[in-house]
């Protein structure tokens, strides 16, 4: 428990760093770029909201930097992220929450699937040293994991939707549909998510396979695995509870570190597929110079990644008694 609490503290620090980056970056830019954005708000929103935006982006406030900073922190923690220009006059928080479920469903589930599948394949590959999973696949995955996500996304649209006509080429659902919890809509959404999901799966699974394989190979040289063999346990038990359970621990740490990489790719995949999630909206806001929305989305991405990492940490604590007893 203490382990998880300590990690929680660390994530608060990271979150604070992200919020502070949001505050500092526009102020560091020569000729405040947010100025142009602000003029587009003027006269359209109430003075109080305008003032909050001025504080957020450092546009002609008479407050000192420090007090502006604290006002900004307070606003962020109360969920006051400003008003979106792209979807005027929606509050940023509203838009963010609208995009989030799409991304969680698509990227969340594919990432978990890729991690689980990759871990299994990596373990079996290491277990059968010299087999197909061990000798042929790793070099292939080395190469596929170097593919740019967005390019693979373009390619799969071209192949599966344009040439073969199997799957829809973009969007999260048909435009004639309206989002609802109906069977028809869910089916539609699933069909739309297959191509982007496959794209993310193909590019991200290689990394998990390779790290798990390497971990498992080094765990297989451990004395406790030899001891398990000496005890005459079934190969199945040796592979799972001795080799697998120990090899997955560093892979969970690896999960934390690679997650940022996966999320970066996923943002671009959403962009290529016009998938109505956080990544697509994020790039929309960049394009429209809608900095308030952009900042809000950046924070939610950070928050999502940190939550996933915390979940990985909790899993580590569950699987590894040593982390539970730390100090």
């Amino acid at each position: 428990m203490r382990f998880v609490l300590r990690r929680l503290g660390f994530f608060l620090v990271t979150l604070w760093a992200a919020i502070t980056a949001n505050f500092v970056i526009p102020r560091l830019m020569p000729g405040n770029p947010a100025l142009a954005m602000m003029s587009r708000y003027r006269g359209h929103i109430n003075p109080q909201a305008l003032h909050a935006l001025e504080i957020a982006f450092g546009v002609k406030t008479h407050q000192s930097l420090l007090s502006a900073y604290f006002t900004y922190l307070g606003n962020v923690f109360r969920g006051h992220l400003g008003i979106s220009l792209t979807f005027f006059p929606d509050p940023v928080l509203h838009d963010v929450l609208q995009a989030l479920p799409w991304t969680l469903a698509l990227i969340g589930s594919t990432t978990i699937l890729a991690f689980v599948l990759g871990t299994l394949i990596g373990l079996v590959g290491a277990w059968r040293r010299g087999g197909i999973l061990d000798s042929v696949l790793p070099p292939i995955f080395v190469i596929t994991s170097a593919f740019p996500y967005f390019w693979l996304a373009m390619l799969s649209i071209w192949l599966f939707s344009l040439k073969l006509g199997w799957l829809p080429q973009s969007g999260g659902y048909d435009i004639i549909d309206t989002p609802a919890w109906s069977w028809h809509f869910i089916h539609d959404a699933v069909v739309h998510s297959i191509l982007p999901a496959l794209t993310i799966l193909v590019t991200s699974i290689g990394g998990w396979i390779l790290t798990m394989r390497n971990n498992a190979i080094s765990v297989l040289t451990e004395d406790y695995v030899r001891m398990a063999r000496a005890k005459g346990l079934s190969p199945w038990r040796v592979m799972w509870t001795y080799a697998g359970r120990n090899a997955i621990l560093p892979n969970l740490t690896g999960f934390a570190m690679s997650l940022g990489f996966v999320v970066s790719g996923a943002i671009l995949v959403e962009f290529v597929f016009n998938y109505p999630g956080v990544g697509w909206m994020f790039l929309q806001s960049v394009e429209n110079q809608d900095y308030a929305l952009m900042q809000g989305l950046f924070l939610i991405i950070v928050l999502a990644v940190l939550t996933a990492i915390l979940a990985a940490d909790a899993a580590t604590a569950l699987l590894d008694p040593r982390t539970r007893d730390v100090r």
Binding site: V13, A18, V142, A230, N246, G260, L283
Partner: protein
């Protein structure tokens, strides 16, 4: 067998045979070695060649590309033809020429970002490790924060405020944000290096810290530094292409990412210009693959465990008769184990090495046989060959001989048949319980799975039996449900012995089970093992490098040297009248100092390289009594007064 040497090349290092030396030297190795390893690794060669092609293209784009990439003078949207290899864009440019000219920018970004990130990673990682204390705390915190922050969205946020801000800015931002993973790894490696002996000695010599870091530490971390460079270069290629693709790069620059941006915004794939979108992506993937392959190859090179080596039996000189053509497998009643002509070889890059050479031994019921020798003499390999437990980390294959146990030859048994013998009749105790007990299972769980594998005991019976064996080794059964890390070192060791006694086997094989303990604990554990042995009647094979440890406990002693039996006789006899000069040397070494780190004072020199064993007596180079006939041919074992000795002087009662 003939012991003629195999090759002409001389290797200085002894091959790793003992339990420890095989641990991979992660990141070790100097530049020369690394270069040799690269040229032998196919993935590395492929990656290097690929990279080389891109480098050449990026230096001479004008000579290779047929057209000016910026000229907008061709018919739009042409398909591939001789004139335009990949067709033209709807903006009337030649795609192939654009591709060639785009190489330079992608490569420059990759190399520059790689360089910046690597320098930062080294600076921050190594200084964190060397400064220690608060500085380390702060640097590590910053590293970890940047590590888990999603960097790509952050870069987008930064560049969003300054669109088209140019190449320089892009490189700086990517480089400044891309160092954290490398820094973290370099820090932990530098920390582990800090305690290494050669650095200690450098410090003792009074060399300056900076000097030590630059000339002693950094070279040993070469492969990790290279890996950091390759990793961040790969990351830079993909990230920069991504940024250019979404329009955050300079739209007028010549790069693959920019090509993709224009291709996407002109719907190239839908408008019949597939190569506009395909070709730059393929190039990006190839450049990425070049870095990824090199990175992967480096991983393999720096941790040898990742490579599979095949034992080439045909290259083993003068092999022995195969097990099939000797007498039928029937063990005499009074012995539990009979080993005949057992040989083990393992594969190295330089070819096969015979680590255990034609060893015969037998163990009687309830007997305590000790096997003694320096590390690397093959004693552990012999032990695990008997138990049929070879394989990483003790690589090796049995290449001849028999292991007769309970009337069957273990060498010939399938793994499934072996499982029936394991633990019930033959159990193993290892050197360090810390490593031999599964860290994520409680002692109880580890006892339970052994019981489940070999009996139909109920849960309650298993619990009862587990408590019973713990009491046998005087551990309070309250510790049964503890995890290994919660027990003290001595207790862990005892728990492992308890586990080996679950089924009261006929034979317990022990690999230096006391060497992890201090001298006092060692003694008391030995006494306890001996007591249990006498009470329960199991036989023991006990491997140790410390002759003094077993002097009061073993019935017989087997002295091994360079993979062969040097002498085998009763403990009494061997201590009173050692016949082999090597045994004499071991005896002279021991009475003065005790403890695990005894230098063998009596014997100058070091054991031979088993890849090229000396002709004739293997001990000859170190022997004080060496004579011409010692090196003429193989020295056979001879029996003198019940002792078996491999020395030409044996019969003269030396």
């Amino acid at each position: 067998m003939s012991a003629s040497s195999i090759g002409a090349t001389d290797q200085l290092a002894t091959p790793p045979i003992g339990p420890k030396p095989l641990v991979a030297e992660v990141g070790g190795g100097r530049l020369g070695d690394i270069w040799r390893a690269i040229s032998r690794n196919r993935k590395a060669v492929a990656g290097l060649l690929l990279l080389l092609v891109f480098v050449v293209v990026s230096i001479f784009p004008g000579q290779i590309a047929p057209d000016d990439p910026t000229a907008q003078t061709y018919p739009p949207a042409l398909g591939p033809s001789w004139h335009h290899l990949l067709g033209t864009t709807s903006l009337r440019q030649d795609i192939f020429s654009q591709l060639i000219f785009g190489t330079r920018l992608s490569l420059v970004i990759a190399l520059a970002v790689g360089a910046i990130a690597t320098v930062l990673a080294v600076l921050i990682g190594v200084s964190a490790a060397y400064l220690g204390g608060i500085a380390d705390g702060i640097l590590s915190l910053v590293t970890d924060v940047i590590l888990v922050l999603p960097i790509f969205p952050l870069i987008i946020v930064i560049t969003a405020y300054r669109k088209n801000s140019g190449l320089f800015m892009l490189i700086i931002v990517l480089g400044v944000l891309g160092w954290s993973y490398g820094a973290r790894q370099l820090r932990s490696q530098a920390l582990s290096l800090r305690t290494r002996e050669f650095l200690e000695s450098a410090r003792v010599r009074g060399e300056r810290r900076l000097y030590v870091i630059l000339f002693e530490i950094l070279p040993t971390m070469t492969s990790l530094i290279v890996a950091t460079f390759l990793g961040s270069a790969l990351y830079a290629v993909l990230a920069a292409a991504g940024l250019q693709f979404i329009g955050l790069g300079d739209p007028n620059s010549q790069s693959w990412g920019t090509m993709l941006y224009w291709a996407q915004s002109n719907e190239a794939l839908f408008a019949g210009m597939p190569w506009w979108a395909l070709a730059p992506g393929i190039c990006l993937a190839l450049l990425g693959a070049a870095f990824a392959l090199l990175n992967y190859a480096f991983d393999e090179i720096s941790s040898p465990a990742l490579r599979v080596r095949k034992l080439e039996r045909s290259r083993i000189p003068g092999r022995l008769p195969s097990p099939a053509d000797t007498t039928p497998a029937v063990a005499p009643d009074r012995s539990v184990l009979k080993v005949e002509g057992l040989s083990v070889a393992y594969a190295t890059d330089a070819g096969p090495v015979v680590a255990v050479d034609n060893v015969d031994l037998d163990v009687g019921r309830g007997e305590f046989l000790a096997i003694v020798g320096e590390s690397g003499c093959g004693k552990s390999t012999l032990l695990y060959a008997i138990a049929r437990l070879l394989g990483a980390p003790l690589p090796g294959e049995i290449i001849g001989g028999r292991v007769l146990f309970q009337g069957q030859d273990l060498v010939l048994l399938e793994e499934r048949e072996l499982r029936r013998v394991r633990w019930r009749d033959l159990s193993v105790v290892m050197q360090s319980a810390m490593n031999a007990l599964n860290p994520v299972l409680t002692v109880a769980e580890q006892m339970r799975d052994a019981c489940r594998a070999h009996s139909k005991m109920s849960k309650a019976e298993i619990e009862e039996r587990s408590r019973e064996v713990l009491r046998l080794v005087s551990i309070d059964p309250v510790h049964l449900h503890s995890y290994p890390h919660q027990l003290s070192g001595g207790m862990r060791q005892r728990a492992m012995i308890a586990m080996a006694l679950l089924f009261t086997p006929d034979l317990v094989i022990m690999d230096e089970p006391t060497s992890a303990l201090d001298v006092v604990a060692q003694r008391s554990l030995m006494v306890q093992i001996k007591e249990l042995q006498e009470r329960l009647g199991f036989a023991v094979i006990f491997v140790t490098h410390d002759m003094s440890l077993v002097s009061h406990f073993s019935d017989r002693l087997l002295v091994m040297y360079a993979g062969q039996v040097a002498e085998l006789s009763s403990t009494r006899e061997l201590f009173d009248r050692p016949r082999h000069p090597y045994s004499q040397g071991l005896l002279e070494a021991f009475p003065s100092i005790r403890g695990p780190k005894v230098r063998l004072l009596g014997i100058p020199g070091s054991p031979p390289d088993l890849a090229h064993p000396p002709a004739g007596c293997r001990f000859a180079p170190r022997c004080a009594h060496v004579q011409p006939r010692c090196t003429e041919g193989e020295v056979p074992l001879s029996t003198v007064n019940g002792s078996v000795v491999r020395c030409v002087l044996a019969e003269e009662g030396h």
